[in-house]
């Protein structure tokens, strides 16, 4: 009895290991084809339980888009992110953040509901640093992946103008004791 139980356990463990290995290689396999087919592949794997690979899929899709730049690519990414949000893989906030970070002129790094004097000025250097990093991502999303230099230049100009306006505004805030 004990001997047959041990044998069954061994077989079960072996099968489980095989499944895990199979899943790992399935989830980690590179996404292939153009952006649309790569997105279908990513969606299929996410539906099959590869949710922990979401970030790597997103980066892989960006690389695919970079190799196939097209003004329609933001729409494909938007649909992909909304689908992931609908399936509960990422939150609405994450979906918005990812989309806007890469494909919107506006900066996710410059957000807030409190006034500029109290919220932004005390951490102005950090905000500007975050915006510069975000511009780098916009270069990938807008310029390389979407072939949309106009929007990227607008984002670049927005960053410069924000720097100037924040410098003046925060000086004025300091002069008035916030």
């Amino acid at each position: 009895m004990i001997r047959s139980f041990a044998a069954a356990l061994t077989i079960a463990l072996a099968l489980s290991a095989c499944t895990t290995t199979e899943n790992t290689s399935y989830c980690a396999a590179p996404l292939t084809g153009n952006l649309e087919s790569a997105i279908r592949g990513a969606e299929s794997r996410l539906a099959d339980g590869c949710t922990y690979h979401f970030d790597s899929y997103f980066q892989s899709l960006l690389s695919t888009a970079e190799n196939n730049p097209d003004p329609a690519n933001p729409m494909l990414f938007s649909d992909f992110l909304m689908g992931a949000q609908d399936r509960g893989i990422i939150s609405q906030r994450q979906a918005q953040s990812l989309y806007n970070r890469y494909f919107n002129v506006k900066f996710v790094s410059l957000q807030g509901d409190y006034n500029t004097c109290s919220q932004t000025c005390p951490v102005r250097d950090q905000v500007m640093s975050d915006m510069r990093a975000e511009l780098h991502d916009k270069e990938m999303g807008l310029l390389r992946a979407s072939a949309d230099p106009q929007s990227f230049y607008r984002a670049d100009n927005l960053l410069k103008e924000t720097e100037l306006v924040l410098e003046a505004t925060c000086r004025a805030c300091d002069a008035g004791g916030r």
Partner: protein, 276 residues
């Protein structure tokens, strides 16, 4: 000869001055997601107009004396006076040049207190507006929206550049700056928040330069008075006069515009439901 530092200050001051004569009417920056931001109410515009008038007066006042300096410098050069020590004619020209140079310093000295008052007044009123309108009444989100605007129209390529670019006559710059702000009546080409910030930062710089210049002028005048005794003319003087002339009358090429290539409105862009 230690005239250079003081005249550097003069030059930098002259560079900063055009920005203080921006406009003569009231404008408000559009804010797509909040209350209208009023950066240029009548009080601020009055300060700017007054300061611009003082700057224009200074230009007119210096134009004649700099023209004379130019002629005297030309005469000095054409007479091969450089290095001609002991030549009485050259000494006379050098003394005349030095005297005119002193006249220029005095002309600036006469105007500076009035300019200082006007600049400080404008700086203070702009500072208050920036603090209240952009600092306290605006969130980072709405600030970004205001800067970006709903749709930025194509910007004219001859739009005057900000932050003290040289290359045009001062009074012409005033006219250009007026036109720059006037275009906001028909729609934003460049956010008035940027214009206000730009002017304010230049006002701060101008204010500091005026104070430094006032201190330096007395010393520079004394040094030149001593030079008059010895009939000296220095290359620094000639270079500085050339620099001031360039700034006032725009004899060099203009600078590059600060704005990026304009956003061309054509086909309707895709707008994601995820977009901010």
């Amino acid at each position: 000869m230690q005239l250079r530092p003081s005249l550097d200050s003069l030059q930098r001051l002259l560079i900063a001055l055009p920005l203080i004569a921006l406009t003569t009417t009231s404008f408000a920056a559009p804010n797509s997601s909040g209350p209208v931001v009023r950066l240029f109410p009548t009080t601020v515009l009055e300060d700017i107009r007054e300061t611009g008038q003082v700057a224009a007066d200074m230009e007119n006042n210096l134009q004649e004396v700099i023209h004379r300096l130019d002629l005297q410098q030309q005469l000095y050069t054409e007479s091969l006076c450089q290095g001609a020590d002991g030549d009485q004619g050259c000494d006379r020209i050098a003394k005349q040049l030095g005297a005119t140079y002193l006249e220029m310093l005095n002309a600036m000295s006469d105007r500076l207190p009035e300019m200082e008052h006007a600049v400080n007044s404008t700086r203070a009123s702009l500072e208050k507006r920036l603090r209240e309108e952009l600092g306290q009444r605006t969130t980072p989100t709405s600030l970004q929206n205001a800067l970006l605007g709903e749709a930025t129209p194509a910007v004219k390529q001859d739009k005057p550049a900000l932050r003290g670019r040289s290359g045009v006559r001062l009074s012409d710059r005033f006219k250009q700056y007026y036109e720059l702000v006037a275009t906001h009546r028909d729609g934003p080409g460049q956010s008035l928040a940027v214009v206000a910030a730009d002017i304010y930062l230049d006002m701060e710089e101008a204010s500091a330069l005026i104070a430094a210049t006032q201190q330096e002028i007395a010393r520079a005048s004394l040094m030149e008075q001593l030079n008059q005794s010895f009939g000296m003319i220095t290359p620094e003087m000639a270079a500085v006069v050339g620099g001031v002339k360039e700034i006032l009358f725009g004899e060099s090429a203009g600078g590059a515009p600060i704005a990026s290539p304009p956003y061309v409105i054509g086909e309707t862009p895709f707008v994601s439901p995820l977009a901010m």
